[in-house]
């Protein structure tokens, strides 16, 4: 297993290098290049030339790339053109909020979709199952940003807290600025973005889990488990769910990039101080170092997530574990 992990980690190095080369060159191909951001102001041609030299943009591309690579390997991703602060500092400040949002959404999604998926598989074709299936179709057809807008419309613009007259739920930021820390305040800020982001995923995963539960439930070993007199709860949650959940882990890992993309909408609509918003503003402001940095770090995280999913999968499924150890 350890060798397998090491091999996978080594394999990801050329992939990351390729990513960095592609992004670096594509960004430099854009007319105007990184300088265009400075050229928009009142900067004189002489000053521009100076900035060019200072940023190393007068060097050949290949030299620029290796310079950038050398710096990156030492943990220096350059400075943001916009704020002048180190890219790494900017990104690290944003990673936390994104993980907090995605992590809590994910937890909610998993809990709800496992419950919903199991219930609708166990009671296949009941009214409840049909209701749930319809709901999952609806949930999958709603764009994250539209759900976000409608939630704001309902819980921020329309409904208000009867005792204070303030909006029922806050619709921007991660916490109230200038107020002492309180768990309730953080939770209240989390609810709307979490629901907007999670709704589609709950639908998708409960459908998926329902299908794989139905596959498992009709197998012989489940009949055996029932025949030897186990309680239905134990049969469903211990014997059936464990096998039904294995394909879900792989799917989850493959979907992680999409979840990350969805969080970009949630972050923008709810002014959440995360990576998605950082990336979006970097695109708007042509902040090249931040662009490079966020893309690279996101790619690295995605590769890592896939690796973790593979490890979890092999932990859950002895057959896969056996194949990989060979």
């Amino acid at each position: 297993m350890r060798r397998y992990i090491a091999r996978r980690l080594l394999q990801s190095i050329p992939l990351l290098l390729l990513v960095s080369i592609v992004i670096f060159y594509v960004l430099r191909l854009v007319p105007g290049g990184p300088l265009s951001v400075f050229a928009r102001g009142q900067t004189s041609p002489e000053a521009l030339a100076q900035i060019r030299i200072k940023l190393g943009l007068d060097q050949p591309l290949i030299v620029q790339y290796f310079h950038w690579l050398g710096q990156t390997l030492q943990g220096n991703l350059g400075n943001s053109y916009d704020t002048g602060r180190p890219v790494l500092t900017e990104i690290l400040a944003r990673v936390g909020p994104t993980f907090y949002l995605i992590g809590s959404t994910f937890l909610l999604v998993l809990i709800i979709s496992i419950l919903v998926g199991v219930i609708s598989a166990v009671r296949q074709y009941s009214a409840l199952d049909i209701g749930i299936t319809t709901f999952t179709f609806i949930g999958q057809a709603l764009p994250v940003f539209w759900v976000g807008l409608v939630l704001i419309l309902i819980f921020f613009s329309t409904l208000s807290n009867p005792s204070t007259g303030l909006p029922l739920l806050p619709a921007s930021g991660m916490y109230s600025v200038g107020k002492p820390f309180s768990v309730w305040d953080w939770l209240a800020h989390l609810i709307l973005p979490m629901v907007a982001l999670g709704l589609g995923w709950i639908s998708w995963y409960s459908r998926y889990l329902r299908a794989s539960m139905l596959d498992v439930i009709h197998q012989d070993y489940i009949r055996t488990a029932r025949a030897k007199g186990l309680k239905e709860n134990v049969v469903i949650f211990k014997h059936a769910l464990k096998n039904a959940a294995i394909p879900l882990v792989t799917v989850v890992a493959l979907d992680l990039p999409t979840l990350f993309g969805g969080s970009l909408f949630a972050e923008i609509i709810f002014s959440w101080p995360g990576m998605g918003r950082l990336f979006y503003h970097a695109v708007e402001r042509r902040d090249y170092p931040i662009l490079m940095g966020t893309i690279l770090i996101t790619a690295a995280m995605m590769i890592l997530a896939n690796l973790i999913a593979d490890i979890v999968c092999s932990y859950l499924d002895p057959l896969i574990r056996y194949e990989k150890s060979r």
């Binding site: 609806i138 764009p143 940003f145 807008l149 999409t258 970009l264 923008i268 979006y280 995605m302």
Partner: protein, 309 residues
């Protein structure tokens, strides 16, 4: 007594009426009420967009004295911040959104079929390289790549067609072919050693002929189902990109950029948000139901079983 030949017509033998594959698929499809409802909703939305020109209003003309009208008989969906009739804009926007959905999915389907087909048919190094490429594309959040690519095209002042219509199609198509490639590859991998491929090779068919005429038809089912769902996904993606300001550029209406337009004032004039959003919702849910019904109707075991009966 000489033996007499019995005329064939006198034999009590009837050739059973053969159903074509299309008939069987349609017969199976009809059994899905939700699939039928989905198809009808789609038809309605397509008709609405196709006959957008019936509207007495201009979709883009600004008329500030008429802004933010509540829904009424004159403006069933109300008007927006520039006094434009929202129903008209929704209909014209539907053209853009549906076309983007279909065309970018077609791009993705063609790309995916070529890449997956080559990888599955030739295997070995070609497969290895092409599948690494697929993994490479899969390891990014699609939205990040979309924003990045749209940014590059915009900065390079490359615009294909009105409102960046072509840009969106290319960009979405180029970032969503991976599932298709994997599906097609699986079919090719499975069938390249099969008897009928060997037979075709033995009478001298070349690789291209085998791929296109013999193997590809077997992948049509999954490709169609995936394309239906993929169209829904592309419409969602387009609306998202336009919402972020990197999709269809105003004044050309699309459902996504109408939502973007509405965002600032939606607390006061909610109908601006509700109608374009509902259009996206109904289109996507209808496509998903149709895709679901098609998956069932095109299930090869079912179809072949019924053809043999």
């Amino acid at each position: 007594m000489a033996e007499q030949a019995i005329p064939l017509d006198d034999l009590d033998y009837q050739i059973p009426a053969q159903e074509t594959m299309l008939q069987i698929v349609w017969k199976n499809f009809r059994r899905h009420p939700m699939g039928l409802i989905g198809a009808s909703i789609l038809l309605l939305i397509v008709l609405l967009s196709a006959f957008a020109f019936i509207s007495p209003y201009d979709p883009d003309e600004i008329n500030n004295s008429n802004r933010w009208q509540t829904p009424s008989w004159h403006h069933p969906f109300g008007t927006d911040k520039n006094g434009r009739d929202i129903l008209t804009r929704v209909a014209y926007g539907g053209r853009v959104s549906l076309m983007v959905g279909v065309l970018s999915m077609a791009t993705a389907a063609i790309l995916g079929t070529i890449i997956g087909g080559l990888a599955g048919f030739y295997g070995g190094q070609i497969d290895n390289v092409l599948m690494r490429l697929t993994d490479f594309f899969l390891c990014f959040p699609q939205l990040f790549v979309l924003l990045f690519l749209s940014f590059i095209l915009r900065e390079s002042h490359i615009t294909f067609m009105q409102g960046g219509f072509g840009n969106i199609i290319i960009v979405i198509g180029a970032t969503s072919w991976m599932t298709m490639a994997r599906l097609v590859r699986a079919t090719f991998l499975e069938l390249r050693e099969s008897e009928f491929v060997k037979a075709a090779r033995s009478y001298g068919s070349n690789d291209l002929h085998i791929m296109v005429r013999h193997i590809l038809p077997n992948a049509v089912g999954p490709v169609i189902v995936n394309s239906t769902m993929g169209t829904a996904w592309s419409i969602l993606t387009e609306s998202g990109l336009s919402f972020l300001g990197y999709g269809i550029q105003p004044p050309t209406a699309s459902w996504g950029n109408m939502l973007q337009d509405a965002r600032a004032t939606m607390g006061v004039y909610p109908w601006q948000t509700i109608f374009p959003g509902a259009m996206i919702f109904f289109t996507v849910i209808a496509l998903n139901y149709v895709g679901d019904a098609l998956r069932d109707a095109l299930d090869p075991y079912k179809v072949v079983g019924q053809m043999r009966q």
